[in-house]
């Protein structure tokens, strides 16, 4: 076996390990930036690298819990984490993750786990991308009447949900939200259910849920989301390992890349703001959708099966490379400007 392939003892497959490091780095950058573990990229990514789908989910949950620890440490220093909201969300999420994991085992027994998970992914991705672009469109319409990017109001479903005042009521200071405690608990349960079923730490759903259903500012949503993903990822890892579906060696290799990537992604949130984040997020969701769609229907076209699978792989890895490059370049540009300004201020002070 060539040196760049590594035998995975539990799943029994040989994996191109530099691909794992790159996937880890990419998902670290993207995860730290968007406030998620990056499972929406990692699960299909690992599946494409050669892991069976249930191993891809377990391994993905393991690496994302480590990845979110790194990103949460950095976001906490920026003051972006609402611990009270995050802790309440954990309770509902854990119950949901367990239900989701049991559902996956049941689907595996039926022999339909791969296709069902990919179908659910596709539906979820369509709903999320629609929400993001509808939000942008709603905000842009207000520009005509003189609103700016800061003052324009997007999708505000949270306003209606805040009117449901079932006690106990709770005030989340960092997020600036006052609502019934049952709102985050209920939302987090369904986040956990989808997360445990699809093998995503929940960030893909948590971020829009925090912004559109709870009413958090985007940067607090990112930090608090990662805080929750850290725990749901660890719980997901535990439950998937108990069921024998985690490849620790692969997760550790991915963490090597993710540790550095998460720092870059998190710091980039200082420099990239507003619509740029939403556009990047919405477009990446569409990319993942196209990739999974091609993978799901590849076997329906026997002559073009390999071509469609190759295109699917190219889209996933192309997406990771594009987003990483964009975030890293913006982070470096922002950092250079900050250092230049700092130097100039020091010179003025000296003078």
């Amino acid at each position: 076996m060539e040196w760049y392939y590594m035998h995975m003892p539990i799943s029994g497959v040989s994996i191109f390990w530099p691909g794992l490091v790159l996937l880890g780095f990419g998902v670290g950058v993207i995860g730290g930036f968007f406030g998620m573990g990056g499972g929406w990229l990692v699960t299909p990514g690992l599946n494409i690298l050669g892991f069976p789908i249930s191993f891809a989910i377990g391994t993905d949950l393991a690496q994302m819990s480590a990845n979110s620890i790194v990103s949460t440490m950095r976001h906490a220093k920026f003051g972006n984490v609402d611990y009270k909201l995050g802790t309440i969300m954990i309770i509902g999420t854990l119950a949901g993750v367990e239900m989701g994991a049991r559902l996956v085992m049941y689907l595996e027994m039926l022999g339909v786990v791969g296709s069902v998970i990919r179908y659910c992914y596709m539906i979820l991705l369509v709903l999320i991308s629609w929400t993001v672009f509808a939000d942008i469109a709603k905000q842009k319409k207000q520009f005509v009447v003189g609103a700016t990017e800061e003052t324009a109001v997007g999708i505000d479903w949270y306003k209606r949900l805040h009117k449901i005042k079932i006690p106990p009521m709770v005030h989340f200071k960092t997020a600036g939200v006052y609502c019934s405690v049952w709102l985050p608990v209920t939302i987090s349960f369904f986040i956990g259910l989808v997360s445990g079923t699809l093998g995503i730490g929940g960030g893909l759903i948590v971020l829009p849920a925090f912004i559109y259903l709870i009413g958090c500012p985007t940067h607090v949503a990112v930090g608090t989301s990662l805080y929750g993903v850290m725990f749901s990822g660890l719980y997901g890892t535990f439950t998937y390992t108990m069921k024998g579906r985690t490849e620790l060696a692969a997760a550790l290799i991915m963490i090597l890349g993710a540790a550095l990537g998460a720092q870059i992604g998190t710091i980039a949130t200082k420099y990239i703001k507003g619509f740029a984040i939403k556009y990047a997020f919405g477009l990446s969701v569409i990319g993942v959708f196209i990739s999974i769609f091609l993978k799901q229907f590849a076997d329906k076209f026997p002559g073009a099966e390999h071509l469609l699978l190759d295109i699917s792989s190219v889209i996933i890895f192309g997406l990771v490379i594009l987003l990483c490059t964009y975030i890293t370049v913006k982070m470096v540009q922002g950092a250079r400007k900050e250092l230049r300004d700092k130097k100039a201020k020091a010179l003025v002070k000296k003078a």
């Binding site: 595996e108 027994m109 209920t186 949130t269 420099y271």
Partner: protein
């Protein structure tokens, strides 16, 4: 007033519960096959040594301890590597404590 809120909440709950159930169960009914037994994997220990061999044996003998070890190793490695990366980034001179530009 309170009754109205409860009614609204109930309606919202029904919608929130119904949608994921439909999303999850509709594809199942389309693709459901014959009932089968859960799949059990055995780690291949051939050619393994040291920590890898120990972990693979633990996986084969006791999934609970294996899961405990996994959720201890993952955050520890994450924390150590994260702290190293944090230290390296802090050397750049960037302000890493505030979001203001």
């Amino acid at each position: 007033m309170y009754t109205t809120h409860v009614k609204r909440l109930k309606l919202a709950m029904v919608r929130v519960i119904a949608l994921p159930c439909l999303l999850l169960w509709f594809p199942v009914s389309l693709f459901a096959g014959e009932k089968a037994q859960p799949l059990n994997f055995i780690a291949d220990t051939n050619g393994l040594s040291g920590m890898e061999l120990w972990y693979a044996n633990l996986y084969n003998s006791n999934k609970f301890y294996c899961a405990l070890v996994t959720i201890l190793v993952i955050p520890i490695v994450g924390f150590i590597l994260g702290s190293i990366a944090d230290f390296l980034i802090s050397k750049t001179g960037l302000d890493l404590k505030s979001r203001a530009k």
